[in-house]
Amino acid sequence: MNPSAIEHVTPATGPPEIVENVYLPKVAVLDRVVSEINEVKTFYWHFEDSVEQQAFKRFRPGQFAQVSLFGVGEFPTSLPPSPTEDATFFTVRQVGSCTAALHQLQPGAKFAVRGPYGNGFPMEEYRGKNLVFVAGGIGLIPLRSAIIYALAHRSDYERIQIFHGAKTPNELMYVPNLHEWERTPGVECHLTVDRPGNDRSGEGWTGNVGVVGSLFKKPDVKVAVENTMAFVCGPPIMFRFVIKDLLEMGFQERNIVSTLERYMKCGVGKCGHCCIGVAYVCVDGPVFTYEQIKRLGEDI
């Protein structure tokens, strides 16, 4: 691009700001990187400015943030931590140029973050209900926040069931969390893989084999249907089949929630890229009930 093509820009010497600049990201420092599965890493970070850190920590499960890698660009990403945890981190698969740039960063490197954005899961509204979480592959990233949040407010909710499926045992997400949830009393955590292979410990996979929906039909599993919110997140094909299973079990469309992903530039309802039907995924979502998703009328 030709710099002389930039029009009408003068340095910031004018009157003081009246409104907050929603496009201005704040500097963040990378603390450490943990490899989750192939091409997926978790990046622990904090804002350089502790005031920003405090402000950011007011996010809700299901919200997202915009991450800037200057010179490459900016991308939206889910917030897998719960606001009840101390650490702030992203879990990101390397798919395009921005995520590739993030994957190359070393601890201590600086990048920038703005947010949190979007509506998030209305966890307060779900008090007194059973919660069923169904996550396919990296679909567990956005659901992790809601799961940890629900466990931190355990007495607010009735049964908590977690169903997580991956292609192979090596691709199960957040393995330390999965082990913890399997051991937590009052939490039913069920895992499955499409293809058995060697798991991380080198021992053969002894768990369920099949798509995540196959867990619902196991004799020792009884999915709570009445007074239940189902959280579904995963690849499009998994999403379609799980929705079909849930509806067959008797779930109401309005009691199934998911978070949508779209190409986004601004995250604040202005750039137009994430608009589906009458909704901006960034400000009206990313959390929608299945009833709403159906009305939007676009591929998931």
Binding site: M1, P3, A5, I6, E7, H8, V9, T10, P11, A12, T13, G14, P15, E17, I18, V19, E20, N21, V22, Y23, L24, P25, K26, V27, S68, F70, G71, V72, G73, E74, F75, V95, G96, S97, C98, T99, G108, A109, K110, F111, A112, E261, R262, Y263, K265, C266, V268, G269, K270, C271, G272, H273, C274, C275, I276, V278, V283, E298, D299, I300
Partner: protein, 358 residues
């Protein structure tokens, strides 16, 4: 309504007054034929300003929403990041902005500033902008084949959202103030009080001008809004519209009410980065393509559908409290596939009346 009159020969003195108040004044000019454009006024070109001319295709929205605008400047040194937002506080006046384009800027106001998370870059341009609206009164020069402001209720004379409105009464111009800033100009001796006779002439001229618009498509606009909002458009009509689209994006770039943009980083000297926002178009295939290649909006008719849905669906009109189509007719003029807004409204009319008869 504060109304004044001024002699025809003094109209350009309004430009001089604004320039004295350190406004950069933008005004319409004409080269040969249909070649009309908006440009900053200088001492050299001041006398060539046109009072009546076909509305330039390149809309004045660029003075509040530039096609390329720097949002941030980032300095990188020793691993540290300095992020500095860059703002433009230039005082600008658009002299001779048409009523449709005034409505276009009002729509942008509603979109960028009317909701939560207002856009500070837009606000900085907007609060330093002064609008001198010229009502369209010349049926040959001002009103084009494609104009349909009568259908969108935005012209030929804007009712609000300008600072000053001018109307050609022949040997005099009538000036109406829309804001205190516009009224302040009336302190200059070129303006004198308007008589009831002037107001009557204004009304008679407008009545005459309204008759010059072609009656077709006009009354169908609200019917099209209803059909789009209720999802009554047959899929084959969207297909027909899609089949005619060449994916050039022209309609969105000339539209005074289109708001979409993309954001890109641009490297500058000393390892610096500039973050720019650039006009984008929902007609282009990459508009919704995500990293990794998945594109939820693949088919071309889906993308066309999107533009007309955004402009005509009642939901968006309600959300912004203004319609994203202002009847300027630019899309109709530039579209090679003849799917500008009036044609689309016409296609919707055919399709919905046919399906009702069937």
């Amino acid at each position: 309504m504060k109304a004044r009159v001024l002699p025809r020969n003094d109209v350009l003195k309004i430009v001089d007054l604004l320039r004295q108040q350190s406004y950069e004044v933008i005004a319409p000019f004409r080269e040969r034929g249909r070649d009309t454009f908006l440009e900053p006024v200088t001492d050299q070109n001041r006398d060539r300003i046109q009072l009546h001319l076909p509305n330039p295709y390149y809309p004045p929205k660029r003075y509040v929403f530039p096609p390329i605008e720097r949002l941030l400047k980032v300095e990188r040194s020793n691993g540290d990041l300095q992020i500095v937002p860059t703002y433009d506080f230039q005082k600008r006046a658009i002299f001779g902005i048409r009523s449709c384009d005034v409505a276009g800027i009002y729509h942008l106001d509603r979109f960028y500033l009317g909701r939560e998370l207002p856009d500070i870059y837009y606000q900085n341009h907007r609060k330093n902008l002064f609008l001198v609206n010229m009502a369209c009164t010349d049926p040959d020069l001002d009103i084009g084949e494609e104009c349909f402001c009568m259908c969108t209720d935005t012209g030929p004379a804007a009712r609000d959202h300008f600072d000053l409105q001018l109307m050609d009464l022949g040997d005099e111009f009538m000036a109406v103030a829309g804001t205190p800033a516009g009224e302040a100009l009336f302190a200059d001796p070129i303006f004198r009080k308007a008589s009831p006779e002037h107001v009557a002439r204004r009304r008679a001229i407008l009545e005459e001008v309204r008759k010059r618009f072609k009656p077709n498509t006009t009354s169908w606009f609200s019917a099209a809004i209803q059909a789009v909002s209720r999802g009554e458009i047959p899929e084959e009509t969207w297909d027909q519209i899609g089949n005619r689209c060449l994916e050039c994006g022209g309609c969105t770039y000339v539209c005074p009410a289109c708001t979409c943009f993309t954001v890109t980083d641009h490297s500058v000297e000393d390892n610096g980065v500039e973050r720019l926002r650039i006009w984008d178009s929902c007609a282009l295939s990459g508009f919704t393509r995500m990293a990794g290649g998945f594109n939820p909006r693949r088919a071309i008719h889906d993308r066309r559908n999107r533009r007309f849905f955004r402009k005509l669906a009642h939901y968006f009109i309600q959300r912004e409290l203004s319609m994203a189509c202002v009847g300027c007719g630019r899309c109709a003029a530039v579209c090679h596939g003849d799917i500008g807004m009036p044609s689309v409204v016409e296609m919707i009319r055919h399709a919905t009346t046919r399906s009702k008869e069937a």
